[in-house]
């Protein structure tokens, strides 16, 4: 964060109210909305804050590092005259920074090449380029059924105890665009995750050799809560610089957005805003959109920003406001299943509620393979039927099923064990599709209604059941 001071700014000692993350500063003049404030308490340590509301009498300031130890008498507020800005530079690659962008790795301060407003500006929809480059993640459930493309924003809806971090790290390690070796970078934003989780990621980046192409923004579970509100923005500002100024392909991993939303709720409640669903502020959708929409491609620019967002669904509830509003903004979702996880299937990705909205743009002849769409739809459709039948089996037993129904049931089992449950292997898209055909062999050709006939002839050779 840019904390350069200007000589003309004033210090105020007029705090009238301190509550939660908020302080009220009275009788201020010339204070801008969104301005960055430095609050210095009795301990002499400066804390960063931001103006949330300003009127003739007072400014409402949220203090990113919390208000513990502040008092109304001696605390000074210094308005910097700047909105929140971040100094960005290429040399940030390989660095570890705190949630506000200051070094944590003992290295020197980053020498900025540019100062950017961390809130960014919306990309002009007319300037956007349509994302259409297939990214191979090596995971069949993603590549085959919910393909990721460059410039997409795709969240992983997880639950506590499910291996979302492992999957995200695996994607970061294996993800590549077929037939290219372009410059890439990873920007990693940790929001309120534990030390253990953070060191897991750092270790994985290290072993894959990606660490010196990674910028880490760490706001861990014991770091100031409110700082989390600027961490994803600082990370995305860096990503925008790397992608659109420096031409890199940037993968942004943000984990865990649930903690971000909690912080947002904390501030909203402290401000006594009218709460929306489950106490989250009414503008949660808009707030999340200003983060997620900072992904994509821009016409005539070489770089791109792809977002992989991890969030934990409280009580595995996909209708909870956080996953719900996220799903309305992102271009699909990867949903993890506790049931698959319990049965030891890794990665435990449940294909049925998953979706990739940009899949069609990234697959097909010349990108993956001509039969991709058909195979994906057919696998999906049979698996869905198999899953329906499982519920029935629970009631009437497998003996009550006809031969045709048993075929779907057997397919669903094999599909989970072999197609989804690939372990931590890295599977090429060809292998994923061929495995799909292998599983589809259990059905006669005329049942493969979703696949074009010429593709059945070309790819579906061999004995059919």
């Amino acid at each position: 964060m840019d904390t350069q001071t200007s000589l003309l700014t004033k210090h105020y000692r007029t705090l009238s109210y301190i509550s939660g993350p908020l302080v009220f500063v009275e009788r201020v003049a010339n204070v801008g909305y969104g301005e960055i404030v430095t609050i210095t308490g009795a301990d002499g340590a400066p804390r960063a804050g931001q103006v949330l509301e300003v009127n003739r009498e007072r400014a409402v300031v949220q203090v990113f590092t919390g208000t513990r130890g502040l008092d109304a008498d001696t605390t000074r507020a210094h308005f910097t005259g700047n909105v929140a800005r971040l100094g960005v530079a290429m040399e940030m690659l390989g660095r570890t920074l705190n949630g506000a962008g200051q070094p944590l790795d003992g290295g020197p301060a980053v020498i900025p090449e540019k100062f950017l407003d961390i809130h960014g500006e919306p990309i002009n929809p007319y300037a956007r380029d349509h994302p259409s480059e297939f990214i191979q993640t090596g995971i069949s459930a993603i590549d085959g059924l919910n393909t990721l493309v460059r410039g997409q924003k795709l969240p992983i809806f997880s639950g506590y105890g499910l291996p979302a971090n492992e999957i995200a790290a695996q994607i970061a390690m294996h993800a590549r665009v077929l037939g290219t070796s372009e410059k890439f970078a990873v920007v990693f934003a940790a929001l309120g995750i534990t030390h253990r989780e953070a060191s897991f990621f750092i270790q994985r980046f290290e072993t894959s050799g990606a660490l010196d192409r990674t910028v880490l923004f760490l706001n861990l579970a014991d770091d100031p809560t409110i700082e989390r509100l600027i961490t994803p923005r600082a990370a995305l500002t860096t990503a925008e610089y790397l992608a659109f100024d420096q031409g890199l392909h940037v993968l942004v991993i943000i984990t865990d957005m649930t903690n971000y939303c909690e912080a947002l709720r904390e501030v909203a409640n402290a401000r006594e805003q009218v709460p929306g669903r489950r106490g989250y502020p009414g503008d949660l959708y808009t707030d999340l959109a200003t983060i997620y929409e900072r992904a994509g491609r821009i016409k005539d620019k070489p770089g791109s920003i792809t977002q992989l967002i991890i969030l934990n669904m409280p009580d595995d509830d996909i209708t909870h406001p956080i996953p719900d509003l996220t799903g309305y903004i992102t271009e699909g979702q990867i949903v993890l299943s506790r049931d698959l996880h319990r049965r030891g299937i890794y990665p435990p990705i449940d294909p049925l509620p998953c979706l990739s909205r940009l899949m069609n743009a990234g697959i097909g002849a010349g990108k993956t393979r001509a039969d991709h769409r058909g195979v994906a739809d057919q696998l999906y459709s049979f698996y869905a039927q198999g899953r329906d039948l499982r519920r029935l089996v629970a009631i009437i037993g497998e003996a009550g099923l006809g031969a045709a129904d048993r075929k779907y049931l057997a397919f669903a089992d094999r599909f989970e064990q072999e197609f989804i449950g690939q372990g931590d292997t890295n599977r090429a898209i060809e292998d994923t599709l061929n495995l799909g055909w292998e599983l589809l062999r259990a059905f006669p050709a005329n049942e493969l209604k979703r696949i074009k006939r010429e593709h059945i002839v070309k790819y579906g050779k061999g004995e059919r059941g």
Partner: protein, 638 residues
């Protein structure tokens, strides 16, 4: 008039000394001149919603009133354009400020440099009333832009010129009580007021969407309203875009209200390349895009649907059929909620303001088929199709419920169907249309349209009932005719209702092809049922055969020469005869699985699945041939 800021809270700014400010007047805020709108007046102070990010605004910064409400510019050149929510042209903004939208930037909505070829129709000396035709401009190859006397303007035409004009240049002069009024190609209109018309008409013509589930079962009229609610991933956006591509409207206005940026890019890249089958012109030539993505300022999102519908009314007044797609009205509702919260208004249900229902009704009621103002009584229409994004896919929330109150058609998207990759995922049990279009379909498609669609819908409803049983006890418990019914219903679902939006042929299915596809499936259904009945009865005739000759009695005298058929046998034979004729009787036998399996293995079944790929023009002849084949082959099954 200049005021000064006294408070800033997000997109809401309070200013003082704005004496005489009017509700919904546009103001310029701060040194950057951010665009805002007055939404509350208290004494000489005003509350303003600002359409751009307010970071950096300070107490005391100037606020300048413009004297006019939020207006849009209406003139030739709108078609093919892309605007943000307050009609700023996005390509021009990109030229001015680069790939990101900077604050305070303004640009005229339409290009002043373009000269339009104007051909007068009215003549000097004509007495003109609002809405009267003055002349026309060829806006695109297909759309003649009719230049009309603006509402609230009248007089005697004293001068009119032909030739090439920019939209700012006068093309003629009206004289009214000594006042001279210059007529230009461009006019302005305040977006929050509906444009006037002479009379509203009852809508009686369907908006043909080419989507089978909509046109066949839940049609919407030209001038009607429809809503598409659905949880995320249920296909709202694809449905809206498909309708924007294929609906048989003259002009389409697509409002991307608080949605994804990449989806707007999709439309922007795809529409110029797609060719409208009816006009052979790129689709973009009939389309206006309004893109206010979710990360663009929330107040401009609130304005975007008004901007959209005002443009729609403008072309309606020229006598065109306009379709407006709003994706998603929920984001508009949320913008309303956010601003209401900042105003510290008393919240209604789920934090939405109490006036949500009124605002929604005001918006949807701007749809309709009307006789426009003007002597030549042009008929035009605005159809509104609004997507709704209910939180958690729960339709009981306020946006969905309040939209239902005013919408004429309800296309409920079903997450369960979407997860089975059944698209469009419109639930055929819960959806409805209040429009009675039977007359039109009977006159224009087929006399038994209603019977066919009714039969197909009955099949689907019966399937739902049977599926409840199946889910409890398994399909083995069903009688054979019920199993056959399930198969036919599945055929309706998979080979009729499912439609792939990106298929080269099937993306659009004209009504006559819909009709013939249904005829084929229903023919299969009838023949299959008949075959099963026949086979079952035949079976029973054999099984119930009684000893032919009764034993002789002790007296050695035969009681009867001829064996007397039992009551049961008579009845079965009658049923059997009946089963060969249409109509038939209820079934009882349960042991004919082989027949059903054989029927489903026939090549005609695969051919039915390929009907979607039939060329539109060949649909009838191929359907007739296929029906004959079905009658022959299924009819031969024993």
């Amino acid at each position: 008039m200049r005021g000064a800021i006294t408070r800033v809270a997000g997109p809401v700014v309070v200013a003082e000394n704005l004496i005489g400010a009017q509700m919904y007047e546009v103001v310029r805020v701060g040194a950057l001149g951010l665009i805002g709108e007055v939404i509350r007046i208290e004494g000489d102070g005003a509350t303003i919603q600002v359409y751009e990010d307010t970071a950096g605004l300070r107490v005391g910064d100037p606020v300048a009133a413009s004297g006019a409400p939020l207006q849009v510019e209406l003139a030739p050149g709108l078609l093919g354009s892309i605007f943000d929510g307050i009609q700023r042209p996005l390509p021009v903004l990109r030229d001015q400020t680069g790939d990101f939208i900077a604050r305070g930037v303004t640009a005229p909505a339409l290009d002043r440099a373009v000269k339009w070829q104007f051909t007068p129709i009215a003549r000097a000396g004509d007495v003109l009333e609002p809405g009267d035709l003055i002349g026309s401009v060829p806006e695109t190859a297909q759309i003649a832009h009719r230049v009309l006397v603006p509402p609230n303007t009248r007089g005697t035409l004293i001068e009119i010129n032909a030739g090439a004009f920019s939209i700012d240049e006068p093309i003629g002069i009206l004289q009214n009580d000594g006042a001279r009024i210059e007529i230009k190609l461009a006019q302005k209109w305040a977006v929050r007021s509906a444009r006037p018309y002479a009379r509203k008409l009852d809508p009686d013509t369907p908006l043909i969407t080419g989507q089978r589930v909509i046109d066949s079962f839940f049609p919407v009229t030209k001038g009607g309203t429809a809503i598409i609610p659905g949880g995320f991933g249920s296909g709202k956006t694809v449905a809206e875009q498909t309708l924007a591509k294929w609906a048989d409207a003259d002009i389409v206005i697509y409002v991307g209200c608080g949605e994804r940026g990449n989806e707007m890019t999709d439309v922007l890249e795809e529409f110029p390349q797609l060719i409208d089958a009816r006009t052979n012109e790129p689709l973009m030539r009939r389309t206006i895009l309004i893109a206010n993505t979710s990360n663009m300022p929330v107040a401009a999102r609130e304005a975007s649907i008004y901007t959209g519908i005002t443009l729609a009314e403008f072309y309606r007044d020229m006598g065109y059929d306009v379709a407006l797609m709003a994706d998603s009205t929920s984001r508009w509702g949320e913008a309303l909620r956010e601003i209401s919260g900042r105003l510290e208004e008393m919240p209604g249900e789920e934090g939405y303001p109490a006036y949500l229902a009124t605002r929604l009704a005001d918006f949807y009621e701007r749809a309709g088929r009307v006789i426009a103002l003007g002597k030549d009584a042009r008929v035009g229409s605005v159809t509104v199709i609004g997507a709704v994004s209910p939180p958690g896919g729960d339709f009981s929330e306020p946006m969905t419920q309040n939209s239902l109150r005013v919408a004429g058609a309800f296309w409920g998207l079903d997450t369960g169907l979407a997860r089975r990759r059944h698209f469009p995922a419109i639930n055929w049990i819960t959806s409805y249309s209040l429009y009675d279009l039977r007359k039109w379909f009977v006159e224009n498609v087929a006399s038994d349209w209603e019977a066919q669609t009714g039969e197909a819908m009955a099949l689907l409803q019966e399937e739902t009932k049977l599926m409840e049983i199946v889910q409890l006890v398994g399909s083995d418990a069903l009688a054979e005719d019920q199993k056959a019914l399930l198969q036919s219903a599945r055929m309706v679902r998979e080979d009729y209702l499912q439609q792939f939006a990106f298929h080269e042929i099937d993306a659009f299915c004209p009504p006559h092809k819909q009709y013939w596809m249904l005829r084929v499936i229903l023919a299969f259904q009838r023949e299959l049922m008949r075959a099963i009945k026949r086979s079952a009865l035949l079976d029973r005739v054999i099984k119930t055969e009684t000893p032919v000759a009764p034993p002789n009695n002790e007296n050695g005298a035969s009681r009867a020469q001829e064996p007397v058929p039992s009551k049961a046998q008579e009845q079965i034979a009658g049923e059997f005869a009946q089963s060969l004729a249409p109509g038939g009787v209820p079934m009882t036998s349960t042991d004919h699985g082989a027949l059903l399996e054989r029927a489903l293995a026939l090549p005609i079944v695969a051919e039915i699945a390929r009907m979607k790929e039939w060329k539109h023009a060949e649909a009838e002849s191929r359907a007739r041939a296929l029906i004959e084949q079905i009658e022959r082959e299924v009819g031969a099954l024993r």
